[in-house]
Symmetry: C2
Subunit: 212 residues, 2 copies
């Protein structure tokens, strides 16, 4: 059993939701794969809600090195409210065609005075952001382990717990996984081989099995 994902529109009836979103002057936009999704508009706290498709939250540093900060799936949210004003630039880049609804946080908050559904949506938002924070904490746990081996094992462990199975498919390419774990890809491949030789894992093209 997978930890259930908080649904941003949970507990709001479809019709009421439409009315609410309209009254919030929300905006639904479509993006093609590889397009950059702009989400920052001066002086407005926009919140982007992934409706369909996948995107990555990416950081480019001054060396041009790319790091995947997060993967965004339907129901996930992103916002410049959650992005530091003084850190390096983060971008949201569509990995597949996708559909994003933008709402203005201030509008939502205002609406809470009169609409019970707005309160529910705000709560859902809170739940989603809590889960996002959990994901970040997990990421930090991975990144603070001290070796490539332990990063890989911690990552596999987490996936295993997430899917409640010793066997699971890697959603990342190896190239992306190395980026995610902030390690050198070739060194990672080497360690992956060592893990297989030590019979700690099995790896039949991207299908990992933990053997202990």
């Amino acid at each position: 059993m997978m930890l259930e994902k908080p649904r941003i529109y949970e507990n709001i009836e479809q019709k009421s939701l439409q009315k609410l979103l309209t009254s919030l002057q929300s905006n639904t936009l479509f993006y093609k794969a590889n397009q950059t999704i702009a989400y920052s508009i001066r002086n407005r706290n926009l919140i982007g809600i992934m409706e369909n498709g996948e995107a990555n939250l990416i950081r480019f540093d001054y060396n041009g090195d790319r790091t995947i900060i997060d993967e965004l799936s339907p129901g996930d949210i992103f916002s410049d409210m959650f992005i530091s004003t003084y850190s390096s630039e983060l971008s949201v880049i569509a990995t597949t065609n996708c559909q994003v609804t933008f709402i203005e946080y201030e509008e939502l908050l205002k609406k809470c005075r009169t609409s019970q559904n707005a309160v529910i949506l705000l709560n859902n938002l809170f739940q989603v952001i809590s889960k996002t924070l959990i994901k970040r904490n997990e990421r930090i746990e991975l990144l603070t382990t001290r070796s490539i081996r332990s990063k890989l094992l911690a990552y596999f462990e987490l996936q295993s717990k997430k899917y409640n199975s010793k066997t699971f498919n890697l959603s990342y390419s190896y190239t992306d996984l190395a980026d995610y774990l902030a390690i050198d890809r070739s060194a990672m491949m080497r360690e992956l081989r060592a893990l297989k030789e030590d019979k700690l894992i099995q790896d039949v093209n991207k299908k990992i099995t933990i053997l202990y």
Copy 2:
């Protein structure tokens, strides 16, 4: 100018706040330095609000290695709502004497139906958690750089931007800083010396100046 900290009790008048907290059956507890602050109660989404003092959010892994996930200051919050059910154990440990108010999230949410101040508090909570998420993103940015040198420089850069000055005091001990950056302390000291020799920074016992 420092980025202002969102205040959890902002925009609520002192008297109304007292009334609100009482009606939420909040609980204020006192802890001594080095005490562990329990914040997990079965089936209840408690939110801890740091009123006074400092604490650290700590992770212990199976090797006994300790990592500081976050520093908590007055106005910061922590909750098992933000902690993964399947990652390793996190603890909140008081570093000074401190005072923590616990509220139940569900109670707060319920209250939003009838109390405008509850909505304000929920918004404040949202603001604080957004800032927390930003902090985590920054941490991830530090951790994803590929060398001790770049971690140190990125950390100093961030502090410099935070305090809007090329000179600032380290709030961490070197031992803790190494933990925070997830690097070996002795290796960090070595690199710190190299940074001084390369005239990239100045370091007069914990007062760092960036020289470029």
